[in-house]
Symmetry: C2
Subunit: 258 residues, 2 copies
């Protein structure tokens, strides 16, 4: 096989179950060693948000939550547990509407059904909130692993989302560190030499979707994936994830407020 062709490899990283208070960066680094994988410059680690949140004590026992009147009302409207609805209200920036079983929210700048709160992969009676600041989570994990492995990598905290009118979940990056998460292809040229005008590539989101092929949603204990050979640009800063402006978004401008 010639080497001048694009080539990418992904390695699923199996770990023990992540528990509250665990150092997830250390656990992932240990698991990499155990699997005989040595990190290289420009590698990208994608880590699922749920174990990150668990390690950061973001588990909440539903029985400890006292729903407000507003939460009780909205829980009925969207057919949700009033205690979960209370947490959604506390976590989200905005609620737009929803369907039975899901309130459509913006949470930390990202569209997230039910503010990203999940009862899957949580102990019975508990839910997992999103990491408090996924950007900082990514930065902290990157610092630990770069120091230990002595190389420059990117780290992405990934979550799942449905796309409009599509069946099934795809990946979304909710925090990144050390990579350029969105590449601006404007100013480059197409096959016919015409300048591209509006094309941006959601590199970080695509890396998460790729990683989810190996992660699984259920009890598969592959909370992280090492991606080698991706075109992601590794840079030694924590870049903020840029988001579409609301006015430009063709979905948002057509969404009714609840």
């Amino acid at each position: 096989m010639k080497t001048d062709h694009p080539f990418l490899q992904m390695f699923g990283i199996k770990t023990p179950l992540i528990k509250p208070g665990d150092n997830i960066a250390e656990i992932i680094a240990n698991s990499l060693e155990k699997q005989g994988l040595q990190l290289q410059d420009n590698d990208v680690l994608v880590i699922a948000e749920s174990p990150v949140a668990t390690s950061e004590h973001r588990l909440v026992l539903l029985d400890d939550v006292r729903p407000s009147e507003k939460a009780v009302h909205l829980a009925e409207k969207y057919q949700l547990d009033p205690r979960e609805m209370e947490l959604i209200l506390q976590e989200c920036d905005e609620i737009f509407g929803g369907v039975p079983g899901a309130a459509l929210t913006i949470t930390r700048g990202t569209l997230a059904p039910n503010a990203g709160i999940d009862s899957s992969n949580a102990p019975d009676g508990y839910v997992v909130l999103l990491p408090k600041n996924p950007q900082e989570s990514a930065a902290g994990i990157r610092r630990y692993i770069q120091d230990r492995c002595n190389c420059k990598i990117g780290v992405i905290i990934g979550d799942s989302r449905t796309q409009p009118l599509r069946l099934g979940c795809v990946g979304i990056a909710i925090g990144t560190s050390g990579i350029v998460p969105v590449e601006d292809a404007r100013g480059t040229f197409d096959l016919f030499g015409k300048e591209l005008k509006i094309t941006r590539k959601a590199v970080a989101d695509n890396l998460v979707s790729a990683a989810q092929l190996l992660m699984g949603e259920a009890g598969e204990s592959v909370p992280a994936v090492l991606i080698r050979g991706s075109p992601a640009r590794v840079v030694d800063t924590d870049m903020e994830m840029p988001l579409f402006s609301r006015d430009e978004c063709m979905y948002y401008s057509n969404i009714r407020k609840a």
Copy 2:
């Protein structure tokens, strides 16, 4: 490296420029050989929709299009070329609204800005419509390549989409053949042994997003990617792409009609 860990490889396939009337399946098979790649059972080929459409004579010279009154009106509303707006009206099932530069449509069951019509990677003055029936395109390519390479593979026709309130394009499968495009994880169990209730995995969409890491949007001449080691289930039938029901979709039910 131990082999009991999930491992996936992707190979970008470089081809000559695809022209109207070309047999794209043959060109891809030739390019695979030239790169020294031999297909194996359960490999998945992701192919960009634009070269597929081009090979199927879906290029339209804008100067040949005479816009209707309705197209002129909507073109003004969405700041589009009236001739492109005419093609959008002819191609789409429905228009919901939009923003300057993009009409939000449903085209062949999928949300597609401007009915998926694109002037990138088309000769000057031309636009490329979506393949007429991406499912059939995928099936035809699969039959040719399976016969020639004597193995069972999956084929996906991929396109790019923005996600709500996100910057940058991710992948979406607009036609699949020979694989299960959406895996239903309901009835499986989480890390704590609780049954998952509503999780479906958009395997085909994730495969396209993964492939787009190597494809590039601009003039990179990597119209196809071979994915080896993915969890996609290869089956010897043409499965229809299932889509979310409109009523269940949390975005759709909150979108105003234009």
